[in-house]
Structures are given as C-alpha cells and as structure tokens.
Amino acid sequence: MILLLQYTLLFASVLLLVALGGCFSERSGVINIGLEGIMVIGALGGALVMKFLPAEMGAPMMITATILASALAGMLYSLLLAVAAINFKADQTITGTAMNMLATAGATVAVKAMNTAASGGSDVSSDIIYTRARDMFIVRFGNFEFNWFMVVALVALLISWVLLYKVKFGLRLRACGEHPQAADSVGINVYKMRYAGVLISGILGGIGGIVYITAGVSSWKFENGVAGFGFLALAVMIFGQWKPFKIALAALLFGFFRALGNVYTGFDFLKNLNLPSGVYNMLPYIISLIVLALTSKSSLAPKAEGIPYDKGSR
C-alpha cells in the first residue's frame, strides 16, 4: 500500500511537471508534441551529471546540479521547436514529431559512443548507471521512500499557478495563445511571449525526464526513450483543461494507474486475477484514450494554439 502511494506520487510528479510544461507552451499558442523528446534529452542531461559528478559533494549540491542540468538540456532542446515554430512558422505537429524521433535516436547514439569509448569497445550498451547519485534524492521514512522530486513538482505547481494567473506575464502569455492579434495591438511582443512559453515547457519537460528515469530504477537504457510518457502528459494536460490545479489532479489519477503496473503484485486480489502484467502497464494509456474521447468535446484549448503568428495578417 505504501509502495503504491510512493509510486503514485512519483509518477504523478513526472506527469505534473511535463504537463505543466505543455500548459505553458500551449497557453502561449504553440502546440508541443515534442515533450516526449524533451524528456529524453532532459533525462540524458541529468543522468550524465549524476553519473559523473563525484558523490562526495553531498546531496544538496547533487540535487541542484542534476535538476539544473536536466532543465538546461530540456530548454536547449526546446529551442528547436521555438525556432521552427515561431521564427520559421513551421507546422508544429510535424516539428514536434521530428523532435521525438531525433531525441531517442540521438541520445542512444551519444550514450553508446560514450560507453564504447570508455570501455575500449567491450560495452556497447546505451545504459547509464547512476545508483549512488539516485540514493541522494531519497529520504526513507520507514517503508516510504520520500523523493525530493516530489517537492520539486509541488513547487513547480505553485510557481506555475502564480506565473499564469497572478502576474502580468501570465495574462500576456494567455492572451498570446487566445488572440495574438489582440495582444499585439496592445504592444505585447507575441514572438517573445511564445519563446518564453516554449522554453519554460523545455525546462519543465527536461526535469520531468530525469524524474521519470530515476523513479524506479538505478540505470536507464536510452534506447527505450520514455515510453510515451510525454504523450501521457499531454493527455493529462488536456484532461486538466490547461489549468494547473486540475492538471495536478489529473496527474494523480494517471500516476495512480501507472503505479499500479509497478506494484500490483503486492495486492492479493489483483494478483489472484491472474492477468498478465501487460494489462496493468497498458492501463494509463487505455484510460487516457477513454478520458480524452469522453472529455474532448468540452475542450477549453487555447484558441490560437497551433497557428503560427504572422504580424502581417490581421
């Protein structure tokens, strides 16, 4: 039971971070299908720091450095989307899809090259091992493994809410996603706001990536990417109607079903059903299909999302 709670919170943290990232991007008017790829690159950045930084530096430094590295990697990677979608007015769906394909492939190549070189050719895997660093993120209360990333997600939630609703940045960002011509007419630089939205989504998506790969394991095979979690986060964002607190609730729900896949063997009645583990692993994805099919009619998506802004057309 405690294990279920622990994993629910952890996976919910991942989904919350990434979905909030998507929320910033879409609120500014840019659809970010590339979250999956941003997660992979963020995870790579964080994993490298965890692998190579000396463990002697202590937990606070390690945690800070890992988060910063993931955020930076994710943000830099999201620049691809920003440049393509905002400057070159590229199709945002296609750009995002390309980013997803590039991220997993690129990360695999990079890690394999690194491992091959380091081992003199005997290790050609795409794995990064970060056992010791991972332990620094965890504080044990009895059986419950508290993870500092849960706090990070909570802080991200609060900051997002303030940014979107309590300061002028949010008012302007949301205006750019709803009616960029209106924003432009009152002197708001739509291009800058959209850059801000996309880069914030890169930061949050990157952090989400490192949380995801360190959630249950001490090493990660980058060939696997992040198993569609970026898309799941998009579903969470839509189910949460692009609103931070609703997104948090949706993340808990989806996180719960994802956690069930990890720990269902701990529940006798589930184990006795004798279902193959694949059924549980499929649950969050199936739920997302059902939820989106049922709720997409009353969607409150930003009106101008996906449409490149062109100053000339009014």
């Binding site: 008012l171 302007r172 205006a175 009616h179 007419s185 009152v186 002197g187 708001i188």
Partner: protein, 512 residues
Amino acid sequence: MEQYAVEMLHITKRFPGIIANDDITLQLKKGEIHALLGENGAGKSTLMSVLFGLYTPEEGEIRMDGQAVKIRNPNDANARGIGMVHQHFKLVECFTVLDNIIMGVEPTNKLGFLQKKHAREKVLAMSEKYGLHVNPDALISDITVGMQQRTEILKMLYRENDILIFDEPTAVLTPQEIDELMQIMKNLAAEGKSILFISHKLNEIMAVADRCSVLRKGKYIGTVEIKNTTKAELSRMMVGRDVKFAVDKEEAKPADVVMDVQHMTVASKQHDNDAVRDVSFQVRRGEIVCIAGIDGNGQSELVFGVTGLEPLKSGKITMCGQDITKAPIRKRSTSGMSHIPEDRHKHGLVLDYTLEDNMVLQRYFEPQFTNGIGFLKRGAIHAYAEKLIDQYDVRSGQGAVTVARSMSGGNQQKAIIAREIDKDPELLVAVQPTRGLDVGAIEYIHQQIVAQRDAGKAVLLVSLELDEVMNVSDRILVMYEGEIVGEFDPKKVTVEELGLYMAGAKREGVAQ
C-alpha cells in the same frame, strides 16, 4: 492658425504596382468628430495604418500639435495618445472585461503581483462618466457585441488616449446600439477627445460628424463641413458620380406561392438550443421577402435549412408543390433554387478554381457541358463563362481562366450572382448579397435582385443592413433568437420600430 491635434500632410504610400495613398492630407481638429469616407480600396485603411505606424509613407509628414513626429510602430502611436477601435475587435474572449482593458499596461505591486482593485475603480469611474455601461467582471464571450465595443473604447480611455480612431464601428450594432454609440462619441468629443470616424455609411456621418474628408481610389477628394453638405454631395465625392439610394422599383405583384416553410426547426452548431425554432413562412412569385435581424439570431441556420446545407430537426419545406424537406442539395438546385450564400468563400466559390469552372459548379453534368461518355466540354464551358462575364460585367485579370482567389470581393460576388441568376431559378435565396461591397456594386446588385422579382421569381433576402431591408424588400420578417417575431410592410414601419423587434424588446404573434 487653427490648432490641429493631428495633421497628416501630403502622405504618399506606394505598394508594388499601386499607389495606395496619393498625396493625401487629413487634418483633425481638437475635440471634433472627423469622418473619413471612401469606398473599399479607396485607401482609408492604408492611411490609418500610416498614422498607426504600421507603414512608413514614402512622402509626407505627420504633425501632432504642430510638431513633426515620427510614428514607427503601434507602440509609438499609443505612446502619443492615439488609440483605435478596430473593425474586428481585439479582445480575448475568455478574459474578463477588466483583464482586456488592463492588458499591456497592467498595474502591479512591487513584487510584480497584479493589482486589479484600483484599475477596476478607474474603469467604473470612466464608464460612469461617458455612459459606457459594462460589467468589468463579465467574460467577453458572455456579453453583447455592443458591450464588447464599449470595452474597446474603455481600453483607449484607460490608456488616456486623446485621439480615438473608430474603424467602421457600426457594422455590427443594432440601431439602438448605434444611437448609443453616436451619443458616446459626442460625449467623448465634448470632453476634448478628437475622433476619427471611418465609415461608408452616409446617414451616420451626417448624424454625428463635424467634418468629413473623402478619399477615392487613393486620392484625396476634399474635406467638407457636414452642416454645409448633403448625402448626395458626399456620395458623389465618394463614388465620382451620382448614386441612387432609393432602389427604383414598382409595386410588388405577389402571385402563387413558390416556397412554403412549415414549422421548421434547425439545430445549432454553437449551443444546445435550436438555432431556428418552429418557423413558418411563405415566399410568393414576384415578391422579395426579407429576413431581418441582428447577426446570429438564426438567419444563417434558416438558410442552411432551406438550401439543404443542414438537415431539419422538424418541419416541412415545399417548393413549387414538391416536398423538398429531405431533398439533397443538387435536387433543390435542379428544381429551381438558386442560392447566393452568406460566406462566398466557403459556400460560393472554389477559390483555387478558375472562374469558368466556378460558373458551372452546379451545371457541369448537364448535356450542354458534358458529352455522352462523361468528358467535360471545355469549349462550351469556356464560351458559357465568357458570355456570363460579358453580360454581368465581371471584371478579372484573365477573363474566364482567372483563378477566383485573385479577384476582388465585389467581382467574386458578381460572378456568383451571374451564375445563380443565369440558372433561371424559381426561387432566389440571397444572403447578405452586398456585404463588404461599396455603394456602386451595391446599387448594381439591388437592381439585379429587383429585376428577378419583376421577372416573376420569388426572392428570399437575408440582410443585416437596415437600409437594404427597408429599400429592397416587399415584406419584412424579423428574426430574434431563432423565431420570427414580427412581419412588416416596409412602407408602414420605421427603422426604430424594426430595431425594437430585432433587439427582442417587442414581439407579436405572427400571422402566416
């Protein structure tokens, strides 16, 4: 010398192949309402874009309070106190009125948090002062178009702009709202604001403006004092010839019923309520029946139901004695229904087809255009299109092979009218046939519609323009929230009376 708030002196703005503004001078006095009159394409928008810093003119200068100024972008214009109510409102629908007003100049405390309380009081004080009634906490999507416009005006006032530009502000308003707007504009001018009022509606200019400058084909024609001029003179300046306002037509001689609509109900795509509710009416040979109403009261859906673009939820439509309730669109077309659609780009033309292909969209399968084994007779199609182009004076770059997209709106509309009238219909359904067109083209289209009536056709006209409603129709049905709330003889009703019905303030039990 008189003090001007803004002077635009000898402005010339060229685009490749065209001189949009040719040596234009416009002088706006402090505290006056100055109308800018001109047809579509006369250069009004370009001139305003120059004033707003969107374009840099090749020649000429702008002076404010006698000093030459450079306006490089809209922010410069705002900083100099120039504000504009755009024809299409620049409002974020899911924001409140207050959020829209403060956007871009948000008041915050030292920590950067939004402070709306003071802004709210300021907005309420201004709306009190000028009679601009709005609820600052309402969402834009929930309020009427008139209130949205008042929000736009408050946006300018909140920024303490002194020079206010209204770009065709009355196009979307009811007659009562227009009266209110006129009063508001007068109040603003009395408080020392200078107002530029862009319009091609002569009645409104005569009612509210102090002076009027006229543009025609990019050239400055002149500036007149409203109290020394007449509508006829203004229109002559605008068009370059005399224009008849009253449509010449004889008494209608309604004959047998062509279309009979009984208890028609059509669902809405926007909301759960039905867009058209239990509507019944008839259209007879030799009469023009006009559906009047404010945009969005079910007129579009009524036409969709009649023409077959949307299925009926219930009711029955009979045309020439035939039940066409469930008939497909082609069947309706071949049995004698012509449709000049509201949205000419969506339902009227295939924009990337040539003019000749567009001309035969509903008739390509007829033996005169298709041979026995299914090939199109290109020669016959071309000749037919050339004939229509000639007969209806459709102007285009390359004649019948011009791509429809490249044509001007007025000529696209003429092409549709040529096609629909040449089909020799029993019933002509014309939806806002003159929308966005200038007086010359409007005159032509009205003549065509009346000619159809006189040729014994039944005409169903849907219009948002009250002048058109009053001038062209023989019988007026007013629609409000999906129902017909009144039937009138245009000779026996006033515009004010119609307005009350259109706004839902009055209704009557309608005899069919």
